[in-house]
Amino acid sequence: MFRFFLLAAQQAGELQTGLKAVGRGIVYGGAAIGPGIGIGIVVGNAITAMARQPESAGMVRTTMFLGIAFTEALALFGFVLAFIL
């Protein structure tokens, strides 16, 4: 165990880059969960609405893009944050 920490201290630089990469993965992976579910709900409900009332498809589509854009912003914040880290 002690030897492990000694090794880690010697390779602190490498360890830091490695941990940074892991952190980036966790940040973007975590940020993608919520918006993934959210966009699924938005698009799924939009398809239901379009199938039930095809004559209102144009309006539903515009609103759907709006909903996607608002939901997707959170995932993109995570994407940008992963590179800032």
Partner: protein, 253 residues
Amino acid sequence: MVLGLEFPPVSHLVNWPEIWFKDTPFAFTKVTLIYVLAVLITITFFLIAGHKAKLVPSGVQNVAEMSLDFVRESVIMQTMGSQGLGWLPFLTTMFFFIFFINIFEVIPIFQMPGNARIAVPLILAITVWFIYNIVGIRAQGFGHYLKNSCVPPGVPKALLILVVPIEFVSTFLVRPFSLAIRLFANMLAGHFILVTFALLTASLWSATYIGAILPFGLLVALTGFEVLVAGLQAFIFAILTAVYIGGSMSPEH
């Protein structure tokens, strides 16, 4: 071998060598060239279309009229109604400016979406921020505008202490950032995806020849997808601008 494939650092993918005015803040790079070209293309497109406008449109005029019709029907009428038709020139110009910057992502030789650098999205978002605030203040007066954008209707009084700060932050602070970052990050992500598959194709081609078929097919498919994204992001930027301006022109009751 492929196992040794090294992905270049991010700064290599979006920084380009300076062509003129080296080492000054006004350095002219490929990205600057893309911006200049996008401005020129947008201006000449509409100048040619409007130069000898005929009653029965043909050629460039036809395309321009179709695009104006598209912006009017699916951006303005859906969000602002007929009172927002005065914003048609602004929104159409913005749509095409963003679209032309984005589409350089898939044009050979350039292959860099200008919006993968945050400068232009940020400036456009700040412009939109000023516009919708000024429109709101002029249409409703300062006090009413602030009240209407911070206090959503139908919220119980006890919750206001929680809701008002959230609404204030989301309306006045997060909106311009999310507008800029949405465009910027989408184009940056698309650029990275194309770079990844191009690198993979190149290294697999030099290693095995046959293994390059699958990533190359994906590269072609994703290039098509990026054309779609370029148009969609320009559309979303325009429609969100319309929503914000419409929201400050006439508050929800």
